[in-house]
Point group: C3
């Protein structure tokens, strides 16, 4: 029984996620955050435990501070939503770049390539994905539809990605 | 009527483009620039106003100087042609990297992926795309065919991209 | 006859390759290197002359030292195998980044995109490709299957890539 509890606790740790919405308007309360809840819903439906959900403005320092804090806590996955486009205030990838120690370009490639099946504008997402210590950070687009399609395209990858990232006992040759 | 003129002027500003051919030989006048005119023709046929066309040699400093000058003028789009391959003198992406403040990887991904339908060698284009202030810079291959195919693959994206880049009134969340 | 010998020598120089396996366990002799020999076999079957094969541990300094030494020798192609994943010790792309002067993103894009036809996990390869002086460096995954599939997806590109990289007589405009 004790073993089972420990296993359950370990599993919940291994599937912990934080969701960070990046939006000036939502941060100022001028617009309700629609995409954050969509991402949370996806997480719950896919076996992830949402440990935290927050909204930050489109500022490099505030985005990277939030990411660093969540990585320092050792969360396996952090999903950001918004700020990945070409708008003058869109700087989520730049903030993410400052925080990651290793880039994982293939995750963003899959999201854009799959998105292109829905709209050619998916190519304009500048989403960046990478690792910060034991945390995988994945940038998602700011629209609910874009975020959902991006998540669907990589949802089979993410559990494996965080498991490999946190493994320390076997050789990844 | 005045409104109409202002609108027309604003539209022409919003669709202004400069074309920069990067080639030692064309710069020295040893070979006529074939690809530059092909890009100009594409621009005219797609509703872009060609504000300037120039030829620079395959030198990082001269390429980046040209790009910085065109960006400082506030042109929404700058298309370069040439210098994206593996030849010893090909440094257009490196010069572009020095100038951009934000990368837009998806545009180059689409150009290479679409190019692969014609020739596997399309993967060797090191084309880089990104923004420098209010300007989108897109590297194109140096061959007329490569440049045309690349442009065709992203021509629906470019108007939207420059519109979003120059927008300052709405939230891109 | 002399011309023929010179031509043969020149051809063998132009298709020289080194294979570097990156693996802590294989370096320590705790596991036999399976992927290195698979890459060597591919090279021999595809007209490449394998000049050297070595195993290095998953350490940025030791990987980049090996790459720099092989590039200094002027080898046209260096293939690495392993260390491209998300495992805590996987740093081959970071070591490669330190060494290359120009990135060739399309080669890694093709390897990941083709790999996705076999397994969605191919997106997690962080393989980086680029040039260091006259040498093309290509990161391959550490599994024999992953390395083979990656090589198959780019084998038609590689001879052309190294030929262009070493050409110094014609304009790549």
């Amino acid at each position: 029984m004790v073993t089972l509890y420990v296993l359950r606790w370990a599993m919940s740790e291994a599937r912990a996620v934080a969701v960070v919405t990046v939006s000036d308007r939502s941060f100022r309360g001028e617009r309700s955050d629609v995409t954050g809840p969509v991402v949370v819903q996806w997480a719950l439906a896919n076996g992830w435990n949402v440990m935290e959900q927050r909204v930050v403005p489109d500022e490099v320092a505030q985005i990277s501070d939030a990411l660093l804090e969540l990585c320092a806590r050792g969360l396996p996955l952090v999903l950001t939503a918004g700020g990945t486009g070409l708008g003058p205030r869109d700087v989520t990838p730049e903030a993410t770049r400052q925080v990651i120690d290793r880039e994982v370009p293939g995750i963003a490639e899959v999201m854009r390539r799959t998105g292109a099946e829905y709209t050619p504008l998916a190519a304009l997402s500048r989403a960046l994905c990478g690792t910060c210590r034991q945390t995988l950070i994945v940038n998602l687009p700011g629209s609910p539809k874009g975020a959902s399609q991006s998540l669907a395209s990589v949802e089979t990858l993410l559990p494996h990605a965080v498991d490999v990232l946190r493994a320390s006992h076997f050789d990844h040759g």
